[in-house]
């Protein structure tokens, strides 16, 4: 009698396990800084990655009519050109910390699908 539950539960668990396994592959992405990304270089072409860096000075170009945005993020002395189509995040300013998610392309630019502005650590009031 008891065996049946274990078999039933086991089948359910295996099914969910397979589902997890199959979905995890495409959902996992590396989470890198700009210099880490450039170190890996070509092996990441075409992969989905998240990259963290700082917006470089005088690098933001924004066309409000075509909704095309481009900027350079920098970290560890390395620069990466990010291009994005869509509304410009209002907090995007020079020197702000950003996290971009998207694809690293073979022309060494980064096609972002999302831009997350990281709250500066000084959110908590200085004491």
């Amino acid at each position: 009698m008891r065996k049946r539950y274990f078999i039933g539960g086991g089948i359910l668990a295996v099914a969910v396990g397979l589902l997890v396994y199959a979905s995890l592959g495409s959902a996992v992405s590396y989470y890198l800084t700009v210099s880490e990304l450039l170190d890996k270089g070509s092996e990441l072409y075409g992969e989905r990655v998240r990259v963290a860096g700082k917006v470089a000075n005088n690098s933001i170009e924004w066309d409000a009519d075509t909704l095309e945005l481009g900027f350079v993020i920098t970290e560890g002395g390395e620069d990466l050109l990010v291009v994005y189509e869509g509304a410009r995040p209002s907090g995007l300013k020079e020197d702000s910390n950003v996290l971009v998610e998207g694809e690293y392309r073979s022309d060494n630019t980064f096609q972002a699908s999302t831009i997350i502005l990281k709250c500066p650590s000084k959110y908590e009031p200085e004491e």
Binding site: V16, V20, V28, Y30, R48, A87, R88, E101, L117, P125
Partner: protein
């Protein structure tokens, strides 16, 4: 004496009272001395009294803007409305722990008051465990993060509250969740105490039932309020991002939902006892995981509101209580094995067990997604991220299976049933659901409309049919009209029909989630005054932009007229605000979204970007049409109603339980 001293003194007294309670209750539990038990009761009630004094002091400090306290100067300023001054309390890391602990102290005092409901042997055990939990919370707000810490130098004006938190939902969301966590800790204490004292199952099941329902309902509603806030305030057009913080609130809700069904099997059939115990223990541990995550134990891009020093202590508390409870289960394994009989899988208890297993697997899936990046980083140094497609693909289908399953359970009777008896209802409901799906297809609904129509209508029709059959029986038997008979039916078996209402709520929520996830339309445009954009069936015209300034912010308010198929249907006024204090440090302007809601869809207009310059009135506008979102909130109403009805049923002491044995 200043506010700080009074508050600090009250906290310390509460802390001492909690320690006394643990010790006296412990000895009282060991010796069963009536006198010690009375002392325990008094000291547990006094914890709540001191705690309340501390909380009242903190609230008073907020309302009077007593900037000598760090907690006040860090979260409010003179411009903040008084109601938000209250929510500033739990915007603070230590303040939120204070509120949570206070609720536990209130519930413990309630149990101490209602001593007649519990045996003399179990009461001190329960109070001892609850007091120990309070010692932890009080230690946190005294030694780790001091709520009544004073500013070293005089401060004349506070910083103010994060504009995102200045929202009615944020006033309610945290306390409702803390109420549920506190209720869950009561359930935990009752279960552990029952295990220690070998209290018979039918007793503890009776005690925990209402606390569980209460905790379940507040947790569900609290999460929904959080979703509503995310949708209306953060304004990214969605209500659920599978962010670690959201997942943290969802996991215990899955577990406590499983627990409700499992104790229902215990009540009716006296089965699944070990399973219930394990679920209750893990529900409690998962509620502790919430502050671990929200206080920064796991990085969360969306909810980085509070970072604190609490996570290591919380993790320690989780591990200690988990090890202790599982150890206790192991020690009591012989008792637990007794009379654990098996049962047929084709029965309501079999179906409930299957639901339980699915809910637990769902929790595991969400847990994997939430903690895996952290674990991988810990062991390999590689940082990875899991995007939401993981959850959508894994958890989405599992949840749809669960919704469909809600239609199967009512069809099966307790104990052994055959499919035969259920067959006609099953076929009728399934055919009706298919019919709806065909209609949806003909009207032109997409694939997911059709799928959700089948998945959601089937359990809905099963519930309606069950209800109708009961009502018809009363109608024929007692000559009541159908409406009265339906209500009388509800009254005669509140747990069952309350549960049905909850299931209808879940069906509505599921429908809203599936359809809005797949059929939301989004459009982004930068417009000058007079220009229009089109989203879905709607034309939006950007008529005017107003600039306004007050003490805390500059607002730009757009006037956008909306028409559908050439007919003007109204104006909306989305805002984009630059807050003098918060915008520079958070690097963000704060928008107030304008939502026009109809039962069929929300039109969601978002003033994304403005220049804050009188001369340049161009604006980037994001417009979305989100179908059926309001069904999610309506489902929440059913959840609350059904939960309250089920809660209002009180098991009569002893009575039926004896006959059933």
């Amino acid at each position: 004496m200043g506010t700080a001293e009074i508050g600090q003194g009250a906290i310390i007294l509460a802390f001492l009272a909690a320690i006394v309670s643990v010790v006296v209750a412990g000895i009282g539990a060991y010796t069963s001395s009536r006198r010690l038990i009375s002392i325990t009761r008094i000291s547990v009630i006094s914890i709540a009294a001191f705690y309340s004094l501390a909380l009242a002091t903190a609230v008073f400090a907020f309302l009077t803007r007593d900037y000598s306290l760090r907690i006040v100067s860090a979260h409010v300023d003179s411009n903040l409305p008084a109601s938000y001054a209250l929510s500033a309390l739990y915007a603070d890391k230590a303040g939120s722990m204070l509120l949570w602990g206070w609720l536990i102290s209130l519930f413990s005092a309630l149990i101490a008051f209602r001593k007649h409901e519990y045996d003399n042997s179990i009461l001190p055990h329960m109070l001892c465990i609850l007091a120990a939990i309070q010692v932890f919370f009080l230690a946190m707000v005294t030694f780790v993060g001091n709520v009544f810490e004073q500013n070293p130098t005089p401060v004349t004006e506070g910083i103010g509250l994060n504009p995102w938190l200045q929202n009615i939902a944020m006033l309610v969301h945290p306390p409702v969740l803390y109420i549920s966590f506190a209720a869950v800790s009561v359930v935990f204490a009752m279960i552990i105490a029952s295990l220690i004292t070998r209290t018979p199952d039918d007793q503890w099941v009776r005690w925990v039932r209402r606390w569980t329902l209460f905790g379940w309902c507040t947790l569900g509603i609290g999460n929904l309020i959080g979703m509503w806030w995310s949708y209306n305030e953060l304004g990214w057009g969605g209500y659920w991002a599978w962010d670690p913080v959201e997942n943290a609130g969802l996991m215990p809700w899955f577990l406590i939902t499983a627990f409700i069904h499992s104790i229902s099997v215990q009540r009716q059939r006296n089965r699944l006892r070990r399973w219930s115990l394990v679920l209750a223990i893990f529900t409690f541990e998962f509620t502790l995981l919430i502050p671990f995550i929200t206080h920064g134990g796991i990085e969360s891009p969306l909810h980085g509101f509070i970072h604190s020093y609490f996570p290591p202590y919380i993790l320690a508390a989780i591990l200690i209580t988990l090890a202790g409870s599982l150890g206790l289960l192991y020690i009591r394994r012989k008792d637990l094995q007794r009379d654990e009989r098996s049962f047929s899988l084709v029965s309501r208890e079999g179906a409930f067990l299957a639901t339980n297993i699915i809910l637990v697997l769902l929790t595991v899936v969400v847990l994997i997604g939430t903690v895996l990046p952290r674990i991988v980083e810990l062991f390999s140094g590689t940082r990875i991220a899991i995007d939401r497609s993981f959850y959508d693909r894994v958890a989405g289908p599992i949840m749809l299976v669960l919704v469909f399953f809600m239609g199967v359970c009512p069809l099966l009777g307790w104990a052994k049933t055959s499919w035969k008896s259920a067959k006609s209802s099953f076929l009728f409901s399934l055919l009706a659901a298919l019919l709806v799906a065909v209609v949806v297809l003909i009207v032109g609904g997409g694939k997911w409309y059709v799928i959700s129509a089948i998945v959601c209508c089937f359990p809905f029709f099963v519930i309606l049919l069950e209800w109708f059959r009961g009502a018809r029986a009363r109608h024929q038997g007692r000559k009541e009209n159908y409406f009265r008979a339906s209500l009388a039916l509800l009254d005669s078996n509140r747990p069952k029909y309350g549960g049905f209402l909850v299931h209808i709520g879940i069906i509505l929520i599921a429908l809203g989630i599936v359809v809005s996830s797949f059929y939301s339309v989004e459009k982004v445009s930068t417009l000058d005054i007079g220009q229009s954009m089109k989203v879905g069936d709607y034309d939006l015209t950007y008529d005017e932009l107003l600039l306004k300034q007050d003490n805390v912010k500059i607002s730009t308010i757009a006037t956008i007229s909306m028409s559908k198929q050439g007919r003007l249907i109204g104006e909306v006024y989305p805002e984009n605000n630059y807050w003098f204090y918060y915008s520079p440090i958070l690097n963000e302007t704060f928008r107030e979204v304008a939502v026009r809601t109809t039962p069929a869809e929300d039109v969601f207009v978002y003033l994304w970007w403005t220049s804050f310059d009188q001369q340049d009135k161009s604006a980037t506008i994001i417009a979305m049409v989100n179908p059926l979102v309001v069904w999610i909130w309506a489902g929440g109403g059913f959840l609350l109603l059904g939960g309250a009805i089920a809660f209002s049923h009180q098991d009569k002491r002893e009575s039926q339980h004896k006959d059933r044995r």
